[in-house]
Amino acid sequence: MISSPFPVLIIVVPLISAFLIVIAGLIKKSLCYPLMILSLSASVLSSLAILNDVLSHGTVHYRLGGWPPPWGIEYVIDHLNAFVALIVSAISLLIGISAKRMVERDFPGKSAYVYCLFVLQVTGLLGIVVTGDVFNLYVFLEIASIAGYALIAIGEDGAPFASFNYMIYGTIGACFYLLGVGYLYIVTGSLNMADLSKLLPGLQSSKVVLMAFAFLMVGIAVKMALFPLHVWLPDAYTYAPSPVSALVAPLTTKVGAYVMIRILLTVFPPSFFIETVPAALLLRWLGGFAVLFGCIFALAQTDFKRMLGYVLIAEIGYIALGIGFGNRNGLTGSILHILNDGLMMASLFLIVGAITYKGGPRKMARFTGLHGKMPLTMAAFVVSALSVVGIPPTCGFFSKWYLVLGGIDSKQWLFVAVLLASSLLNAILFFRVIEKAYFEPSMDEQGVDRKALNPTGGQQNILSNKVKIDEAPLTILIPILIMAAGVLSVGLLSGRIVSGIIRFAIPAHF
């Protein structure tokens, strides 16, 4: 057994620095940002170190307080969560870097608290990923969620209500999850995942285990916003401040998907959700509906950020579909999609952030001429958009390829058709934005008389209307470009990622 300090460092460093940030903010405001970046970088480095350990030696264990499992809490990191932990920490570092200008402009004087919540959110997400204990997972789930509620509530008009809404649903989700864990504990007397996976195979017919399973599935479905329990998502992510939606939108849902995969593959025996109960069937149908529903409703949106929310619902549907196929290719597609979707969604939400930071529009009808004003941002947008549509060589194509293969392997032709139809819908979605931004002349060129729109406006008003939109500051632009480059390079490297990491993350008998 390999033991290493890194699993706990991933969590402890940001957890402690979250409180240090608040203290530092009382002394000197300018210390907060570097402190946040330092702690997030430490998480990235630890995740890299762990991934390296896992790749060379296999699963890494860490016992909190030295207590042996199943009594003590244990952090267990195998290929699957080493992979997800790296995704989460790297994307949150990039978003953290970009947050500076947006937070300091929108929340002057309160930036220390925002950074604190931001780091706490990341701590929670990473904790969910590394822990090997189902109850400890619940604790981190609550840390992440509560930080998320607070972060979303500080957004624009409508955010407090959206956040309240999210809190109600989130609490139901967490509650169901906890009940599920409780039921499992009643039957097995254990909370350790590895221990549970040894105890559960003999208890599969127990009514209590079945109820526990139902609670877990519904609870996690709320957390990952799987159709039809997605209702909290569009509002919450539209009204949240830009850096926050860029952080929570891609990551929270993906971590939810990770929890689902973990429960289905590790805690319960994999045959349980495919053969014993028709959970895979339910996931397939819900996933398929989520894909269609998300795409069609995204088409109806006029607000770009809100549209991304619905696209996100569709993307969650892909992951659920892949799990629902219940075979190697489908699961590979789902796990790969956690990475791909995390990257492209973070990039897209950050691009919205960059546009609005510069006073640009969020209504897609007013995107005209943006290409001339923010060429690099829009180039990154095209790359990410192509990835959502699934056009090679961007990464989105490869996860879709595996998902379609998975569908064919399990002979689910209907869902293969859904996957392909969604590509078409996504193409409409994004190409109409591209067309607007690149080819339609901007409002100014169309000769809209600013003064006529503003008859009462004095000097002040005219000036504020002539906001000059250009590229966002470098702290925002560089993370966007890194993510766009990531979308391309992950696509080209997906062969290696699949054969080097994901192959080992899926149980061998699949």
Binding site: N165, I168, Y169, I172, G173, F176, Q204, K207, L210, M211, F213, A214, F215, M217, V218, A221, V222, P228, L229, V231, W232, P234, D235, V277, P278, A279, L282, I296, F297, L299, A300, Q301, R306, L386, I391, P392, P393, F398, W401, V404, L405, I408, D409, V416, L420, S423, L424, A427, I428, F431, R432, E435, Y438, F439, E440, P441, S494, G495, V498, S499
Partner: protein, 572 residues
């Protein structure tokens, strides 16, 4: 010794440097790329190279044989000329899109497996849509969007076909396909690019809407890659052969009815691609040679025609035949080159179209397909008529009001070059034969019977044109004018084409656009569609209107829990 790289890389990677260059160096750089491409082609050796293992498949990025080499030479040559023609374009974006488009077409040509073929195929679709959009006018934006949608649908069919093929046969290499669901889907994907009926609507819809320089790139790559892909996977397929014949006729008939010069040429693309598809569908060595030779020739004269018409539009600002005329004296070089192109496309002896059409017709006669042979012959007559019409009404008919000068050198130079090439390959067909995929087995283009046959057709068609010049005069009521034709004795032909067939064509056109409209309706408000039955009006989507009470969602979660546990308990 430098190792050759897949030619696609030169253009695709090269495209990204364009935005960093300005003025003269940029122009020099743009011309340097195709030259590098030629050097690269020269270094290629026959066989398979650049094998990459990716996602447990063996990808082949460089599959060199006579066929792909021929296509490579053709594509890069025409690409060079098209780049030369568009050298003055200021916008970097257009150059980037054109280079990506060219590079990805070359990628398709040299890929030895379906995976990389699909990869380049999709880049091609997106890059070409950008070329259409760059005209930046409302109709071209809409047309570009419809174009892109159709190609994404085609790409989806292709991808599904490829995946099915991989799953069922386990190999991903490009090879002749046998019947089955997988090959049908792949055929739909390829056929959409080759403008198979009725998947052709994107072509006359989008090509005339592109920028003047962009339509040259468009006329070269998309359809020809489609034909090439067909040659790789579906040679000897009866369906492809007769589809080709039908396309040849269909394109010509609707070209005759057009008033817009570029729309006329666009319909001719369908017709010419039909010839090639017919050759590939017949599948004998001679017919495939004929198809590929026709492809090469067609690229030459069709590019020339687009350039000529582009020059005319560029210098006069007019694109309708009714507004043109009398340009022979004012733009002599453009005029002469266009006449040469028209004679070539019609297959007049001494011009290159004669050779390749001859090969196609002979192969059909040899393999016992008289119906197909006559379809192509009829299409030839139509081609001759429509180009006589084009040249007459652009250059020779009387028009005193028109103002024009000769086009600038960077436009005339490639035109003259191509015109000379048309003549050269027509007079020395050996030049053409040397690059064909199959070694030509003693085919002689200039047999007396062939020459006389073609001349007879021309004389007949020419006299029809002279007698019925009034009928061909382009007007906005041109389809009515076609009446004249059938009063002279072509009653059934005219009646059929202007009546049911035209209706069918318009219906397909309107299906494809109403499909897009329905999607647009759906996109405005999917929930509104459910209510629409009541009041017939669509409410604009407003999230605040549709926001439901929180309790409903909570109820849903609990119901779902109930449902889940019920299903689990029952099923276990």
């Amino acid at each position: 010794m430098i190792n050759p790289v897949p030619p696609a890389f030169i253009f695709i990677l090269g495209a990204f440097l364009v935005p960093f260059l300005k003025g003269r160096p940029k122009q020099a750089y743009l011309l340097l790329l195709p030259l590098l491409g030629f050097i690269d082609l020269f270094l290629l050796t026959m066989g398979i190279e650049w094998e990459i293992r990716f996602l447990s498949y063996d990808l082949v990025l460089l599959n060199v044989d006579r066929l792909s080499l021929t296509m490579g030479i053709i594509f890069i040559s025409v690409g060079l000329l098209a780049i030369l023609y568009s050298l003055r374009v200021k916008e970097n974006g257009q150059h980037v899109a054109a280079l990506l488009y060219m590079g990805s077409s070359l990628g398709v040509v040299f890929s030895g497996d379906y995976f990389s073929l699909f990869f380049f195929w999709e880049i091609m679709a997106v890059a070409s849509a950008f070329i259409i959009w760059y005209r930046k006018e409302k109709p071209s934006l809409d047309a570009g969007f419809r174009y892109l949608l159709m190609h994404i649908i085609g790409g989806g069919a292709l991808l599904t076909g490829i995946i099915l093929k991989v799953v069922s046969t386990g190999t991903i290499a490009v090879e002749p396909l046998t019947a089955g669901l997988a090959s049908t889907l792949i055929l739909v994907g390829f056929g959409l690019n080759a403008a198979f009926l009725p998947l052709h609507t994107w072509l006359p819809d989008a090509y005339p809407e592109a920028t003047v320089t962009g339509s040259i790139f468009l006329s070269v790559f998309t359809t020809k890659t489609g034909v090439y892909a067909l040659a790789r996977s579906f040679s000897g397929n009866e369906l492809v052969a007769y589809m080709g014949g039908a396309m040849a006729l269909f394109g010509v008939i609707y070209a005759l009815l057009q008033n817009d010069t570029r729309r006329l040429i666009s319909y001719h693309i369908i017709s010419q691609v039909g010839y090639m598809a017919a050759g590939i569908g017949v599948g004998t060595a001679l017919s495939i040679n004929g198809g590929v030779a026709h492809l090469a020739n067609n690229l030459l004269y069709k590019t020339l025609l687009f350039m000529g018409m582009g020059s005319v539009i560029h210098m006069t600002g007019k694109r309708r035949l009714t507004e043109l005329g009398g340009l022979a004296g004012k733009m002599p070089i453009t005029c002469i080159t266009c006449v040469i192109a028209s004679l070539s496309i019609s297959g007049a002896p001494g011009f290159n179209g004669f050779v390749s059409k001859g090969m196609l017709l002979s192969s059909m006669a040899e393999s016992g397909r008289p119906l197909l042979e006559w379809m192509l012959r009829l299409a030839s007559v139509g081609t001759f008529l429509s180009f006589t019409k084009l040249c007459y009404f652009t250059f020779f008919s009387k028009n005193d009001r028109i103002q024009a000068r000769e086009a600038p050198l960077n436009m005339t130079l490639p035109m003259v070059t191509i015109a000379l090439l048309c003549l050269l390959t027509g007079i020395y067909p050996g030049l053409l034969f040397s690059i064909l995929p199959h070694a030509p087995a003693g085919y002689h283009a200039y047999t007396p019977s062939h020459i006389i046959g073609v001349l007879q057709l021309f004389l007949w068609a020419g006299s029809v044109f002279i007698l019925a010049r009034g009928a061909f005069s382009p007007h906005s009521w041109i389809i009515l004018d076609f009446d004249y034709f059938y009063r002279r004795g072509f009653q059934w032909v005219g009646g059929f084409f202007t009546g049911p067939l035209n209706e069918w064509r318009l219906r397909i056109q309107s299906w494809s656009s109403s499909g897009v409209n329905h999607l647009a309706l759906l996109s405005r408000n999917p929930l509104g569609l459910l209510e629409m039955t009541a009041d017939g009006k669509l409410r604009a989507y407003d999230e605040n209107f549709y926001r439901k009470p929180m309790g409903l969602g909570v109820l849903l979660a609990i119901l779902l829990l109930f449902l889940y546990s019920l299903i689990y308990l029952i099923s276990s």
